[in-house]
């Protein structure tokens, strides 16, 4: 691929991001603006922003790559990523908005009336965020290496630098516009090339190289256990993701939080048709990409492979731009929510503290990413979902729906989930060479029930610790807001 194409595409996305970020800077003035855009963001903007933030390197590159490798088995990834939002809508969206909490630690502290729970939740949230940023940076490294031939670290440093500048400059308000723009950019960058490819192939009558059902490599497909475990992780992991939850505060009330989620589901459903199409076309027309170990770069390479010439270069530039939009948007969303958590706990919630916290949140994962090798993108993000599902999800779900949850139960549950799932990740990485057994590679099916069980049992045993404020809180979480009369 022509290296100029990659560099130009990345520069264009970065400039657009920065310009929109600075435009947002002029609107955001108060501390509230910095955190959650002062709750004035409209549902369509907010939903586009959630979509933009959510569609990460895993969705943009990893899903198509995995479908190329594993065929219909990998279709569970996009289905799970979308259905996770359904679970979020059913059990979390409206009550979380009504809780009035900015962040997950805010919620757990208010719900359980305990500073210790707040600190433990903060630690878990920061771990989740960092774990999630690392694959984004690996994606950036891959994209820079493949498209420009520059050393991999250039991509990682560039993404972190652009994210720091935008977040430090504008906070959540500008990020909302940036993210909303990036959803539509990603959708266009994904859809146009594959539609062009499909029409070209159909027009020229090029015969397929292989059938869609033919496995292009010798790697065995995932078994039933792995598929189920993956679905558990994705269904229950989404509702604990810090950058997703912070967005719900920007809705004016619970019902609009639900409407926003419905729009998000539509946006995600449309988006995920395209990685599926890339995977299918890749299997039928370019299985060689899987055989040469470049599955994760399928989306980046397919236009050049099947179209070529100037048209191929232009389409490649578009997908590269979309890929960088994916790295930038997910990373900045995570950095904003992590900075919110870190600055409130460490710097007392000032705007200055938020800026410092943003830099810390972005630079630490850069260090981790430069020390670790790249795994399959969709797989490593799947692990983050498993971790979230085993730590934050039980506390959130039980906290919203069960009066019996206590601070001791919440802490025990989060600790159990973190130890089991984190342990499985570390053990899997140590055993990595020959491929870990499936129960370690995809631990959610047993770590999530274990975390739930421990949370419930410890809460039952410490029944006298149920906070006195529980009646008031449950009423607040679940009853509809009254129409506002005083504010205009």
């Amino acid at each position: 691929m022509n290296p100029v194409v990659g560099i130009a595409a990345f520069a264009a996305v970065s400039v657009a991001t920065a310009v929109i970020g600075f435009y947002g800077l002029r609107i955001s003035r108060t501390t509230g603006d910095f955190y959650v855009a002062s709750r004035t963001v409209r549902p369509w903007w907010n939903a586009s922003a959630i979509g933009g933030e959510y569609l990460s390197a895993a969705s943009f590159l990893g899903v198509a790559g995995l479908i190329l490798l594993s065929g219909t088995d990998a279709l569970w990834f996009p289905v799970g990523y979308t259905a996770g939002y359904l679970m979020l809508l059913l059990f979390v969206a409206a009550p979380l908005r009504r809780s009035g909490a900015y962040t997950i630690p805010d919620f757990t502290e208010a719900r359980l009336d305990s500073r210790v729970v707040r600190s433990v939740t903060s630690v878990v949230v920061v771990m989740v965020g960092w774990l999630y940023i690392v694959p984004q940076l690996h994606g950036a490294a891959l994209a820079i290496r493949i498209t420009t031939g520059l050393p991999a670290w250039v991509g990682q440093v560039a993404v972190v630098a652009v994210v720091c500048v935008t977040v430090v400059a504008g906070g959540m308000r500008s990020i909302t516009f940036v993210q909303a723009f990036q959803y539509w950019l990603k959708l266009t960058a994904m859809a146009l090339p594959i539609l062009f490819i499909v029409f070209t192939l159909a027009g020229s009558g090029t015969p397929a190289v292989a059938a869609a059902s033919v496995n292009p490599t010798a790697v065995a497909p995932a078994g039933l256990y792995q598929n189920i475990s993956l679905l558990v992780a994705l269904l229950f992991g989404t509702l604990g993701l810090p950058h997703v939850l912070v967005r719900f505060y920007t809705n004016p009330d619970g019902q609009s939080a639900r409407r926003t989620t419905l729009i998000v589901l539509g946006l995600l459903s449309v988006f995920y048709l395209f990685p599926t199409a890339y995977g299918l076309i890749g299997r039928m027309f370019a299985p060689v990409l899987a055989q040469s170990g470049q599955a994760d770069a399928l989306v980046l390479l397919l236009p050049g492979q099947l179209i070529g010439g100037v048209a191929g270069d232009l389409l490649s530039a578009l997908v590269v731009a979309g890929a960088f939009a994916a790295f930038l948007s997910t990373t900045s969303g995570l950095v904003v929510s992590l900075a919110g958590v870190i600055s409130q706990d460490l710097f007392g919630g000032s705007v200055r503290g938020f800026r410092w916290a943003a830099v810390i949140s972005a630079v630490v994962p850069l260090g981790i990413a430069s020390m670790t090798g790249s795994l399959a993108l969709a797989g490593s993000v799947g692990m983050v979902f498993a971790f979230t599902a085993s730590t934050i999800c039980p506390v959130l779900l039980l906290g919203i729906w069960w009066r019996g949850l206590t601070d001791a139960g919440a802490i025990a549950g989060m600790a159990t989930g973190a130890l089991l799932c984190g342990g499985a990740m570390v053990a899997g990485a140590v055993l990595g060479a020959g491929g870990p057994p499936s129960w370690l590679a995809q631990p959610a099916a047993w770590t999530v029930p274990a975390a739930f069980a421990v949370t419930v049992l410890v809460s039952r045993a410490t029944r006298n610790r149920v906070p006195r404020t529980i009646t008031r809180l449950m009423t607040r979480l679940h009853t509809p807001e009254r129409p506002l009369v005083t504010e205009r």
């Binding site: 509230g32 002062s38 059990f91 909490a101 009646t471 005083t486």
Partner: protein, 125 residues
């Protein structure tokens, strides 16, 4: 456009009012909701919403499981094609999304109706 400025993000003080409330005018209704009689309605609303969520989730998961089962159990189905595309790909890669959207839409409609009924019960305008 209603614009609510949030000026103090750390307004949650442990022990006191656990969650920030901007509307002091509504305090009397808060008290009514926290009374024993009010709590009967609140508890019933929570139960109804939870049951709704669980029913929709279970229905969705059943359909989700039914798709691959159908492909596995009906001979020749996975190999058949629809508008030139393999049927198993269309079913899992396209067909599930409308089910997700429909479940979500049904949930939102019913949840809003449950809340409206609650409002009627507690006499909120």
């Amino acid at each position: 456009m209603t614009r609510v400025r949030v000026t103090a993000p750390r307004s949650i003080t442990p022990g006191a009012t656990a969650l920030p409330s901007a509307r002091s005018a509504a305090d009397s209704r808060d008290a009514a909701e926290e009374s024993d009689a009010g709590q009967v309605f609140v508890r019933s609303l929570i139960r109804t919403q939870l049951r709704l969520g669980v029913v929709v989730a279970a229905g969705f998961l059943l359909i989700l499981v039914a798709f691959p089962l159908m492909l596995g159990l009906v001979p020749g189905l996975a190999e058949s094609t629809i508008v030139g595309l393999p049927f198993d790909w269309v079913l899992l890669g396209v067909g599930i999304y409308p089910v997700v959207g429909l479940s979500a839409w049904l949930f939102i409609r019913t949840a809003a109706r449950n809340e409206a009924r609650y409002r009627d019960l507690v006499g909120d305008k």
